[in-house]
Point group: C2
Chain length 455, copies 2
C-alpha cells in the first residue's frame, strides 16, 4: 500500500527559521516611518513590538535565525505536523497528478497561527514584558495568541471585531478558556474606540479599528507590547517552520513539488509553506511554481497596485511597499475572514513583482465546492480560508488531467473548519454568493494612495 | 530535553484488534434475546448489524481479530495518534508522577469515535448494505459515522436527540457536510417517533427514543443496517487500536503505566485504552491499576447493581449482564453528554465485578476545573467527557505527590472541546452545578429490573 502520511519525529522540528529576504536578489524596498517618512530603523519599532521581533522584521542579511529552545518545546505540543498524500481526492478527480497537503489543522487551536504566536509571546516574556495586546477578526489569531500568552505567563487583551464577537462566540470562548480578556471592538476602553462609538453608535467594527485600539492600548500601558498575526516579515519568518518540515517530508515521499499552493490573506501561511521551497528556485536548483490563492472579492495580488501603503485602515502603521487595494478597501463579508486584507505584505509582493510567484483569484462558491469535495474524500472539514488553497489545487490537478501530466502538487491545509460550521450551513442553504470587485472601485481606492503619500 | 511526544509511523498501526474476552478467566454471562429469553446467537443479530460485527460481538475465543486493510487505510488519515508526556501539567501540580496522555482528539471529527465507525461502515459495505442508521446524543458518534459512511459510499440517517439538534448546531452541520441525513428525534418518520410526538407534542427527545427510531428504520428498510457507537463488545474491540498503539509508545518512552485512566460512558474509549494494558495483568506480568472515571450524576459502576438489563430505554435490545442504574434512569443534563448512559456494558462490568478494574465518580465542577488547568498548561481544550479522565488523573498525581511516589499515569484524551465551548462559557459564568443521585433513586430504578426479568 502506498504511504499516505509522512511523519517526522520531534528531533526533526527545524532549529532555525528561514529568512528569505537574505537570499533575494531584489530585496523589498524599506518600510517607511509614517511620521518622518524615513526608512524605518529597528528602534522605531521597539515601543510597539518586542526587540527580537523588531530586529527580525528588518533583518535582510541572516538567512537562518535560530528558533529558541522554549519555542521549540511549545511547538512539540503538536509539531511536526503530518504531510498527507490526498489519495482519495486524487481518485475522485481521476487525475494523474499526485496531491499532497501539509496538515496545519492539527494544532490545538486548529490553525497554523500558533507558529508565530508562540514565538512572539516568548520574546515578550524574555524581555520582561508583562502585558500584550492584539486584534482578531474571525478569531484564529486571537485564539493562538491566547494559548501562547497563557503558557508564558503574559496577560493578553484581544480586541475582537464586534460582529465576529457576536457571530463567532466559540472562538471568543476559546480565548477566554485560555485566560485572555476579549473586548468587542469598537470599545470604550480606548480613545479610538470611544471616538468611533460616539460618532457611529451601532458600528459593528472592522479589523482596522481593532488594530487601532490594540496599538493604542499597548502604547499607553506600561510594560505592554503589541503582536500581529500576519503581513509582517517576522510573522512570515516564524511560519517557515511549516515549509522546512514539508521539505523533509517530500523527500521522505520521494517526490518534489512542481506546484506549491497556499491561500493568501496577509501572507503568513503562504510564506510559511512556500519560502523554504522557493529557496530551491532562488538558488537555480528547482523550477517549482508557487501559487497564492486569494479570494476574488479581495484580489490584491492580481488586481492591486504595487505602491507604498499603510498596513491598517487608520494609517498608524509603517508604510509597506506592496500590492494593495488601498488601506480603505472594504472587502465583501465573505466567510474566509482571514483573507479579508487589503495588502500583500512586502516580501510576497516583491516576489510577485519579480514573477517569482503567481496568484489566482478564487470565487467564494468555488471555495466551498472544493471544501465539500475535500471533506467527503479526505475526511477533514477545512477552514473557509484553506478552502481557497484546495480550490486552486483542484484546478491544477484538473489541468494535469487534461494535459495527461503526472505533476506533484503540494498545498497547505492551514486550518480546520470545525468552528466555522455556520458558513457551511449557509452554503448548503444556498445563502452564499460570489462577489466581484470592479476595476473602477480598485482604481478609486488606490488613487487615494497618491494623495496620502504626496506622489 | 525530555521527549514530549511519542509518535509511531503508519506501518506501526496495529494489524489486529485485541478481543479481551478470549483471555478472561471469568467471561461475561451471555447476552439474552429479549423475546425468547435464550442466550443470543450471532444470527439473532444479523438482521440488525453487519454479520462481521455480529460475529465479533459474540466471539469469545479469538484473542486477535484482523483489521481489514481498507479500515487501516482510513485509519491512516489521522492514526497513529500521538502519546504525549504532560510535562506542563506535571509542573503545575508539582508532582513526582509522570503523566502521559494518548491524544485521540487529533482525528478529523475530534474524537476516538472514528475507530469503530470506520470498521462498522466497512463491514456493511462489504456485505452489500446500501443504507445505515444510527442515533447520536451530543453528536460525536454521529459525526464519526457520517464521515465513515461517506467514505464507503453508504447512505446514512442519523437520529439526533432533539434538544442536541437545536443546541448543538455545529455537530449537526458537520454530519450534513459529510452528506448524512440528520433527523431530530422524536420524528414523524417512525412509528416510535410518531407515537411519542402524539403523546407528548413538545418532547425534547432522549437517547432511548433515538435508538428506537434508528432501529425501527433499519429493520423496516431494505438493505439497511444499524450501527452503535459504544457499549457493545464489537465496539470496544475496534477501539483497542488506541491501547495497542499506546503499548508501543510507552515502550518508546521507556516506562510502563502504574495507572491507566479513561472516562466512562458506554465504555468504548475506556476499553480501547485499557484492555491492551490489562492483558499484562491477566497474564500475570504486570500489576497496573485501571480506573474508569464516570460522572457522579450517572454512577453505574460505583453504585449500580450487577444485573441483566436492556441497552436502551425502550427495551428493544438484547439483555446485557452489567452494572446498571436501570434502563429508565434519567441522568442529569450534564455537559458530558457522551457519559450519560445507564449501563456499563458486559465486559467492563464483569472486569469490575472481579475487581480487575476500579471506578471513580467525578463531579461536574471538578471535571471543568481539571479541563481548565489542562487547557492552560498543555494547551488543548478537552471535551467535557475527556475532562473526567483528566480530573481522575490529577487526583492520582496529587496522591503521588503526598506519598512522594513517582508513579506513571496514563490517561486517554478521547476528544477535544472546540465544539463544546458553550459548556465552558456556562462554567465560567458560574451556571454549572454538581448533581447527586440518591441511593433511593437508584434502588427504585433497579427494583423494576426484577419485575421485567421475572427474577
Amino acid at each position: 500500500m502506498e504511504t499516505k502520511k509522512f511523519l517526522l519525529n520531534e528531533q526533526q522540528i527545524p532549529t532555525a527559521w528561514y529568512n528569505i529576504v537574505a537570499e533575494m536578489t531584489n530585496k523589498p524596498a524599506p518600510l517607511i516611518h509614517p511620521g518622518t517618512r524615513q526608512p524605518l530603523k529597528p528602534e522605531d519599532l521597539y515601543p510597539l513590538f518586542s526587540r527580537a521581533a523588531a530586529d527580525q522584521e528588518l533583518n535582510t542579511t541572516d538567512a537562518w535565525i535560530e528558533i529558541p529552545e522554549p519555542v521549540r518545546e511549545q511547538y512539540r505540543i503538536w509539531r511536526p505536523t503530518p504531510l498527507v498524500r490526498a489519495t482519495a481526492l486524487e481518485r475522485a478527480l481521476d487525475t494523474p497528478a499526485h496531491i499532497y497537503f501539509k496538515n496545519e489543522s492539527v494544532s490545538p487551536v486548529g490553525s497554523h497561527k500558533l507558529n508565530s504566536a508562540i514565538a512572539q509571546a516568548y520574546y515578550c516574556k524574555q524581555e520582561g514584558v508583562t502585558n500584550i495586546t492584539t486584534e482578531t477578526g474571525a478569531g484564529q489569531w486571537g485564539a493562538a495568541l491566547s494559548m501562547a500568552a497563557k503558557h508564558f505567563g503574559l496577560e493578553l487583551a484581544v480586541y475582537m471585531v464586534k460582529i465576529s464577537y457576536e457571530q463567532k462566540p466559540y472562538r471568543r470562548s476559546i480565548m477566554q478558556t485560555y485566560g485572555a480578556e476579549v473586548i468587542a471592538s469598537p470599545s470604550m476602553s480606548t480613545k479610538a474606540g470611544r471616538a468611533i462609538i460616539t460618532a457611529t453608535p451601532n458600528y459593528q467594527g472592522s479589523l482596522g479599528t481593532a488594530i487601532s485600539e490594540a496599538v493604542e492600548l499597548a502604547m499607553s500601558t506600561p510594560n505592554c507590547k503589541y503582536a500581529l498575526g500576519s503581513v509582517l516579515n517576522h510573522v512570515a519568518l516564524h511560519q517557515t517552520v511549516i515549509g522546512l518540515e514539508a521539505v523533509q517530508q517530500m523527500e521522505m515521499a520521494g517526490e518534489y513539488p512542481d506546484v506549491v499552493i497556499a491561500c493568501f490573506g496577509g501572507g503568513s501561511n503562504f510564506a510559511g509553506l512556500a519560502f523554504p521551497f522557493l529557496r530551491g528556485n532562488l538558488r537555480g536548483k528547482t523550477d517549482t511554481r508557487f501559487i497564492a490563492a486569494e479570494p476574488a472579492s479581495c484580489p490584491k495580488l492580481t488586481q492591486g497596485v504595487f505602491e507604498y501603503d499603510y498596513g491598517d485602515e487608520a494609517g498608524y502603521t509603517p508604510l509597506i511597499p506592496m500590492y494593495t487595494l488601498g488601506h480603505n478597501f472594504k472587502p465583501a463579508n465573505i466567510h474566509a475572514g482571514g483573507l479579508r486584507y487589503h495588502g500583500g505584505g512586502a516580501i510576497v509582493s516583491q516576489l510577485k513583482h519579480d514573477n517569482l510567484i503567481e496568484a489566482v483569484d478564487i470565487e467564494q462558491l468555488d471555495s466551498f465546492r472544493a471544501a465539500n469535495l475535500f471533506a467527503r474524500t479526505e475526511g477533514i472539514i477545512p477552514a473557509p480560508e484553506s478552502s481557497h488553497a484546495i480550490a486552486a489545487a483542484i484546478n491544477e490537478a484538473l489541468r494535469c488531467k487534461v494535459a495527461g501530466r503526472g505533476e506533484t502538487i503540494l498545498f497547505n491545509l492551514s486550518g480546520h473548519g470545525l468552528i466555522d460550521m455556520t458558513a457551511y450551513d449557509r452554503y448548503f442553504a444556498g445563502d452564499l454568493q460570489n462577489y466581484t470587485v470592479s476595476p473602477e472601485e480598485i482604481a478609486e481606492n488606490t488613487r487615494k494612495l497618491e494623495k496620502i503619500l504626496g506622489n
